[in-house]
């Protein structure tokens, strides 16, 4: 990925298997969020491929350069580092937006409001409510998203992403700004999503405790390059990673 002459991501390859939690870590400005933006189509990658292998067969589906909404339709859903909810919509509507691409009603359907549209609307309301219930947000259904406490806003963002029925959930710093208790809750929530829904998760996170406890595998990037990959245990003891985070260790 290049921005003019700046190479933001350099030959960074990463893979996520079905039902796996993978973490992407690295110092600030390493290019983690840029990587997310490349995958989800917010920036078209200048080079390289984003491939998805649909369940069952080995036929790769190349998705780079598609518009973000198409990519979401393909089954990749993301959250944002700085919360990007729809502040003046209710919590339920936020989740219903997530289901948008799984609905079909058009302008004519909306005006005539025929049987098909009504059924679809009711189904969406119920499904959205079920998602909120699962996320522990049921009490806020009719509140404006902007009036929610911070931790709940984070959870709502995940709920909204879940509503698009993804097979891969990309979480950009889900624990940013959370207190230790909320982080603990989040930890359980993510494990629950993986366990119950069978969704793979790729997350960017700075909270090492959370990363270590959650991830099956970890990728480390610095200056747009992959510097290490492996299990949490390997990463913890990898000298290159320690150097990237803490600087040169022994120099005297």
């Amino acid at each position: 990925m290049n921005f003019g002459g700046l190479r933001a991501l350099d030959d960074l390859s990463l893979d996520v298997n079905t039902n796996e939690i993978v973490a992407l870590i690295g110092p600030n400005g390493a290019g983690k969020t840029t990587f997310f933006n490349c995958i989800t189509g917010i920036y078209p990658p200048t080079d390289g491929d984003v491939l998805i292998f649909a369940h069952g067969d080995n036929q790769a589906d190349r998705i780079n350069g598609l518009k973000p909404n198409k990519i979401t339709e393909k089954g990749l859903a993301r959250t944002f580092q700085n919360i990007r909810l729809f502040p003046n919509m209710t919590v339920l509507e936020n989740v219903m937006i997530g289901r948008h691409c799984r609905m079909r009603a058009g302008v004519v359907g909306a005006i005539l409001r025929g049987g098909v549209t009504i059924r679809e609307e009711n189904k969406v309301v119920e499904e959205s409510y079920a998602i909120l219930d699962k996320m522990g947000l049921a009490e806020f259904v009719n509140d404006f998203a902007k009036n929610l406490p911070y931790g709940a806003q984070r959870r709502l963002e995940i709920a909204r992403a879940m509503a698009t029925e993804p097979f891969l959930l990309l979480l950009d710093e889900p624990a940013a700004g959370m207190n230790p208790y909320e982080t603990q809750e989040l930890d359980e929530l993510i494990k629950q999503i993986r366990g119950e829904e069978g969704i793979s998760i790729l997350l960017i996170e700075h909270d090492m405790k959370l990363v270590m406890s959650l991830s099956d595998r970890i990728f480390v990037v610095d200056y747009g390059k992959k510097i290490a990959q492996g299990s949490p245990e390997e990463i913890r003891n990898n000298p290159v990673v320690i150097k990237a985070y803490l600087g040169e260790e022994f120099d005297a």
């Binding site: 973000p68 859903a77 502040p87 003046n88 948008h100 009603a105 909306a110 409510y129 698009t164």
Partner: protein, 391 residues
């Protein structure tokens, strides 16, 4: 007090070459501004109290009176019935002049509701909205002039043409947002007007097109008086239709997508909403209503010329939406009636008409930035764990 001193107190009499000192006026101004400042401060304080209440979570207090009335079936139904009866007998109890004003106001209700889709719901600031209004008016005028089509045929054709123009405008501005969008739409509005003014062979230039027939009633030609009444009923019908459609759209999949687009464009795209398609639907639907209103306008005045479609019209329509309450249907209706009827009925004080109008706008924006009747999102009630019920 000191600012008004030269105007209110000193009067120079040029005939006798003396200066009159009107000290009485100074006292009036002083007392007046003193009292006004009290009212102003009181209102400001009340507004701040309101904010505090809303913050501390007293939800019931912050729901405005009007919404409580609307929510209460006992008041709402007789109220609605009264409004319906009043609108139905309106042309019989008031003069033709009054009916005519009302038709104009209703045209603006329709324009406001159309623009409400674009500005209020989808959050696309459109300053060239009047262009679509012009498209509608001229499509009826020209179709009638060249092919002799009557009102009822021109109405859907005008609407379709409006939608087409909406899409034409929509394509180049897909990437724009906020101020940039406003400027481009402003330019578009002016382009349409200038084309109409200068392309003599097509639109007959600034002299416009006259002798456009009024709406026909199954081929019977009505007198001017009857036809005004008839136009009034047509407008009522169309407004009801518009309200019906906008209301349905608002709570549909499309409506939610528009609001999401207004709230956060990037997140909305990342949630699987096709930004381009959503914006184009908003533009074309908004334009359709404007065009249909334009057709009625042409039929009502029987004459169109480019002078009716200046930027000032766009701004008035935008004021209606902002003043009434962005995204709120009943607010926009109230806004249109206030903004169009006030200057008409203030004709008596014609000199101060625009002054009063301006003051009204400023006061409104200070005390009710959300509009006369702000929008409330629909709420859902969940009785059981999985049963959804709309309230």
């Amino acid at each position: 007090m000191f600012l008004t001193f030269p105007i209110m107190v000193i009067r120079i009499n040029p005939v006798e070459q003396i200066v009159e000192w009107r000290w009485n006026n100074m006292i009036m101004v002083g007392v007046g501004s003193f009292l006004l400042s009290f009212v102003w401060n009181y209102l400001l304080k009340r507004k701040e109290l309101g904010f505090k209440k809303a913050e501390s979570g007293e939800e019931d207090q912050s729901v405005s009176l009007i919404h409580r009335i609307l929510g209460d079936k006992r008041i709402y139904i007789p109220g609605l019935a009264a409004v319906v009866i009043f609108t139905l007998i309106f042309p019989f109890i008031f003069s033709m002049y009054q009916t005519n004003i009302m038709v104009t106001a209703l045209i603006y209700v329709m324009l406001g509701l159309g623009l409400n889709i674009v500005v209020g719901l989808a959050g696309l600031l459109d300053l060239g909205y009047v262009a679509f209004y012009a498209v509608g008016a001229y499509s009826y005028a020209l179709l009638n002039y060249h092919f002799g089509l009557n009102f009822w045929f021109a109405l859907p054709i005008g609407g379709a043409l409006g939608a087409l123009f909406g899409i034409i405008l929509g394509f180049p501005v897909l990437r724009l947002r906020g101020d940039y969008l406003a400027i481009v739409t402003l330019g578009f509005g002016e382009i349409i007007r200038i084309i109409l003014e200068n392309w003599n062979e097509f639109s007959f230039g600034p002299s416009g097109i006259a002798n456009i027939p009024r709406p026909s009633f199954f081929g019977i030609n009505l007198s001017v008086h009857d036809s005004t009444t008839y136009t009034y009923y047509i407008m009522i019908g169309m407004c009801v239709f518009t309200i019906f459609v906008v209301n349905r759209l608002q709570d549909s999949r499309i409506g939610r997508a528009w609001i999401a687009l207004r709230e956060d464009e990037i997140a909305c795209q990342a949630m699987g909403i096709d930004k381009a398609k959503t914006k184009l639907t908003a533009f074309s639907l908004g334009a359709t209503w404007a065009s249909m209103a334009g057709v009625v306008f042409a039929a009502k005045t029987t004459f169109v010329n480019p002078a009716s479609f200046t930027i000032w019209e766009s701004i008035i329509i935008l004021c209606i939406v902002v003043l009434g309450g962005m995204g709120s249907i009943i607010g926009v209706i109230a806004g249109a009636l206030v903004l169009i009827l006030t200057p008409e009925y203030l004709r008596a004080f014609s000199e101060y008409r625009m002054l009063a109008f301006g003051t009204l706008l400023v006061v409104m924006m200070v005390f009710r930035p959300g509009g006369i009747i702000p929008n409330v999102r629909r709420t859902y009630k969940f009785t059981g764990v999985k049963t959804a019920d709309k309230s």
